[in-house]
């Protein structure tokens, strides 16, 4: 009799996920699915609200990456108020936002690698879960764990200094930013006591890259072969082809590096990207229209960004980029676990960009806001830590939002995450009659590579983060269990 196995939730990812693996009569994997609860209702909720509230309202979506939503919404509202599409702001407005964004990127990437991924690398994905966690890292590799904590703190402090506050930050406003960087904050970030200064952050960013490269050298087949499969890749790039995490044009390449989207204006994204609905998941499946549903899906995030860009405009990260590209002989990298490698190069790039911006006098003085002629439709995109984030708003004559469409990074990665799960399921579970903890973790390792954000923002105590359901082949619920966090 065919079996259906449910793994829920997926651990060490943002929020909740559920994996179902269907086995056939021979205990081989017949089908696998990764289900996600998305931001249901939010797009309808914002309708009727004044457009200028959007950059603050969207932070209700998610307590994990509010800065990314805040800035993507602000970029869309810039268009609505006639302040341009990311290039029309004052130097102060754009650079303060960029500093906020690189602070977010830095803290998010540091947290992901040090505290979510490093346990798998340091102890092995089949190690005892009792030690394969960050407490285990703290016990055996304390320096790494402390670095992760302090790098995350530095990024959070950058966000506080630019967004104004940790909860519902208001830094980005229509057409610009609401403040300059204070001299005290600038001095603290540049020359503060160790370790909370940019010099130490650069040093640690380089050392963690060396740590990963050393691991890769010793475990090359595991890193290269785990859930590897060819795909298209999509991201923003600067008009000259440079990596740009805040603004640019949309570029997509196939698994061989051929351009599919050739640097198009993202205000026209609807001409190029469609979203498919499937009955078994709340999350849509985006694809490139020109290739259709079957072939048009793509990856986003660090792996994709390093595949689409021609170079990285900061010297240390560029040097690492050249080594990284040599691994695949200049061709796109389609290895799932190379997401981690790419993410760490972006971590270093973010540190370099923060240093450059902190030394830029435009952050300390200059006009904050520009105004223009209002239009009815605005689209804002940026490269969030997990990938390309789309915010699309339309307004009426009364300045009320009439439409909102959000394609979040994790939605863009929906199909590749499903395919990664399927790869692992076949590799680890074909012919097996028993599902062991290492097998389950292998599935999660594949998903974690994408650093998905499945958060529903509400995290109150007793909110049932653990919900395990077991169904038989006929879809009958056999068992369901709940657990709650401390």
């Amino acid at each position: 009799m065919a079996q259906k196995i449910t793994i829920e939730p997926v651990t060490r990812v943002e929020g909740h996920g559920k994996v179902t693996i269907h086995l056939d009569d021979n205990n081989n994997v017949a089908e696998s699915r990764f289900h996600i609860v998305e931001f249901r209702g939010f797009e309808r909720f914002v309708q009727g609200r004044p457009y200028w509230e959007a950059p603050v309202l969207v932070q209700r979506l998610c307590g994990i990456c509010p800065v990314s939503h805040h800035l993507a919404a602000a970029k869309a509202i810039d268009v609505l108020v006639g302040a341009g599409t990311g290039e029309g702001l004052t130097p102060t407005g754009e650079k303060m936002r960029r500093l906020m964004h690189y602070g977010q990127m830095f803290q998010s990437h540091a947290l992901h690698f040090f505290h979510l991924v490093s346990p798998d690398l340091l102890f092995g994905i089949d190690a005892d879960p009792a030690i394969r966690n960050v407490i285990g890292v703290a016990l055996e590799h304390k320096d790494l764990a402390v670095q992760g904590v302090m790098m995350r703190k530095f990024g959070q402090e950058i966000i506080r200094a630019t967004a104004g506050k940790k909860i519902h930050g208001t830094g980005a406003i229509p057409g610009g930013i609401n403040k300059h960087l204070s001299p005290e904050d600038k001095e603290s970030f540049l020359n503060g006591p160790d370790p909370l200064n940019i010099t130490k952050m650069l040093d640690w960013s380089q050392s963690v890259l060396e740590f990963f490269k050393d691991y890769y050298q010793k475990n090359q087949s595991f890193i290269d072969d785990f859930a590897a499969f060819p795909s298209n890749h999509l991201s923003l790039v600067r008009k000259d082809g440079a990596m740009d995490l805040y603004h640019g044009v949309l570029r997509a390449v196939d698994s061989e590096g051929n351009k599919i989207l050739d640097d198009v204006d993202y205000q026209d994204y609807e001409q190029y990207i469609e979203e498919e609905v499937r009955s078994w998941s709340y999350m849509k499946f985006p694809y490139l229209k020109s290739l259709g549903k079957e072939k048009g899906w793509y990856r986003v995030g660090p792996l994709a960004r390093l595949n689409t860009c021609d170079f990285i405009p900061s010297p240390l990260a560029q040097a690492e980029f050249e080594q990284y590209k040599a691994v695949t002989h200049g061709k796109p990298n389609n290895h799932c676990l190379h997401y981690h490698y790419a993410r760490l190069i972006e971590l270093l790039h973010s540190a370099e960009m923060m240093e450059e911006l902190l030394n830029d006098p435009d952050l300390m003085e200059g006009e904050l806001v520009v105004k223009g002629t209002k239009v009815k439709k605005g689209i804002g995109l940026l490269e969030a830590p997990r990938g390309t984030l789309f915010h699309h708003y339309e307004i009426n004559e009364d300045d009320q939002l009439t439409k909102a469409n959000l394609i979040v990074s994790t939605t863009n990665n929906n199909e590749p995450m499903n395919r990664s799960v399927n790869c692992v399921a076949h590799s680890w579970m074909d012919g097996k009659q028993e599902i062991t903890e290492p097998m389950m973790n292998a599935v999660e390792v594949a998903i974690r590579a994408y650093d998905p954000c499945l958060s529903c923002a509400t995290h109150a105590l007793g909110k049932m983060p653990l919900d395990i359901s077991l169904f038989d082949a006929d879809g009958k619920l056999l068992d369901r269990k709940w657990d709650s966090i401390e």
Partner: protein, 161 residues
């Protein structure tokens, strides 16, 4: 005594903002009272850097909204010895305490104030029923902050769940 009062939750999700609202009220109250040595902090959720934030405190009180089956609120000790959640980028209070101990060799006295909430939609504002619980939690906590020595090492002061 160095004290940190730390509320967390998303105030854009109705009662999920109970912990933050409580801390805002306590901060206003402490200014009127002229309380020294108390730091107030708010965030969407706890995260790893909070292990460092609590490391130089003697008393830490986390405040969060709760969906548990409790009447109004409860006040429990956090020792990092129970189940430690590490399922998302958000961390539990126990996890923060454990991480603080392992990374910084510090063991502040830590409590968690659970305040019962009821509504969790995409809206600002605490529900009327939850506001009653918030008032009770406020009344419970203020005497403790005026004389915190009574709560440390004294299980009789706990209002267990």
């Amino acid at each position: 005594m160095r004290i940190l009062i730390y509320g967390y939750g998303n105030p854009g999700r109705q009662d999920d903002g109970l912990g933050i609202r409580l801390v805002e009220r306590l901060e206003e109250w402490s200014v009127l009272k002229g309380l020294d040595g108390v730091t107030f902090e708010n965030n969407y959720q706890l995260n790893i850097e909070d292990a460092e934030a609590i490391s130089d405190q003697e008393l830490v009180i986390f405040a969060d909204a709760s969906e548990e089956e409790i009447d109004d609120f409860c006040f429990s000790k956090v020792d990092g010895k129970g189940k430690l959640s590490f399922t998302t980028h958000a961390a539990s209070p126990g996890y923060i305490v454990k991480l603080c101990h392992e990374l910084f060799q510090k063991e502040p006295c830590v409590f968690l104030l659970h305040i019962k909430g009821y509504e969790w939609d995409f809206k600002e504002g605490i529900s009327d029923r939850a506001l009653v619980n918030l008032d009770r939690a406020f009344e419970y906590l203020t005497p403790i902050l005026e004389d915190p020595t009574h709560v440390i090492g004294s299980p009789g002061h706990l209002k267990l769940c």
